[in-house]
């Protein structure tokens, strides 16, 4: 797996968690989720702290 692909996998896992995990606080203010494609680019900075195992 290339480094780019590994970063993408990690990114998908991160977005799954940010958008679908955690304690729900009802009455919450949800920030508008615009420009998800752009999110992918910036979040590369973050995923470097997380390990991805290679698949064969």
């Amino acid at each position: 797996m290339t480094a780019d692909l590994r970063a993408d996998v990690t990114l998908v896992d991160l977005l799954d968690r940010l958008l679908g995990g955690g304690v729900v606080i009802a009455g919450e203010v949800t920030l508008g989720l615009v420009d998800i494609d752009l999110v992918r680019v910036s979040l590369r900075l973050l995923v470097s702290s997380v390990e991805t195992l290679e698949s064969s």
């Binding site: 940010l18 995990g21 304690v23 606080i25 998800i36 973050l46 195992l53 290679e54 698949s55 064969s56």
Partner: protein, 218 residues
């Protein structure tokens, strides 16, 4: 002025710069300004704060985008749900989340196969998909669950797609868990990735700790 909530941590836990604590009974909330800028900056900051907290304390993540009316409203919520929050923190203490995606290497990509031409063929294909999903779970989920305190497995949402799983793993078992995941990833019949350690986003018992800011909900 709303109070943006990142998560809940051990009382008195060290906080990264620019964050504040709102103390509650047996658990502190970590709050701060929501990131200035767009959704991308806000997502980045939410994930980064939780990852940094994970390095030094048990942490129960709040869902991205969670904000309450003010500190007083948050204190009320934490007092009302103190037992649930403490229990949630206790479940994840000393543990991290590891994420796994797994599929059969031989799975045809979606829509690569011709559409079924009869009801019988459709049923046979559906049965084969279910059997492949069952075997995938027994091959991957069973050996990983042995090394985890808890696990969540979701079978492929489309035939041939990856199953997604999350495991809550004691910190001392992370090395053994990732070693076993590497073994599975080396199996030519499987395509498998494992990422983490993550804050335990997937192991918050919602029934226990859903928090309702009644003022904002009105």
């Amino acid at each position: 002025m709303t109070t943006y909530v990142f998560g809940f941590v051990e009382p008195g836990a060290a906080l990264p710069p620019l964050l504040r604590r709102v103390p509650g009974p047996g658990v502190d909330a970590v709050v701060g300004e929501p990131a200035a800028g767009d959704a991308r900056e806000a997502l980045l900051r939410h994930g980064e704060v939780l990852q940094r907290l994970l390095a030094s304390t048990a942490v129960v993540p709040a869902r991205f985008g969670s904000a309450v009316t003010d500190d007083a409203a948050l204190e009320r919520l934490m007092t009302e749900r103190a037992a649930g929050l403490r229990a949630a923190l206790g479940r994840v203490r000393g543990r991290v989340e590891l994420a796994v995606r797994a599929a059969w290497a031989s799975s045809p990509p979606p829509r690569a196969e011709p559409a079924p031409t009869s009801g019988r063929e459709w049923l046979l294909r559906k049965a084969a998909d279910a059997e492949a999903a069952r075997r995938l779970r027994s091959r991957v989920d069973s050996p990983l669950t042995e090394l985890a305190a808890d696990g969540r497995w979701a079978s492929p949402s489309a035939p041939g797609g990856p199953a997604t799983a999350a495991y809550l793993v004691d910190s001392v078992d992370v090395e053994a868990f990732t070693a076993r995941a590497r073994q599975l990833a080396a199996d030519p019949e499987l395509v498998l990735t494992c990422t983490g350690p993550w804050p335990p986003y997937s192991f918050v018992d919602l029934a226990d700790v859903d928090l309702v800011d009644e003022e904002a909900a009105r």
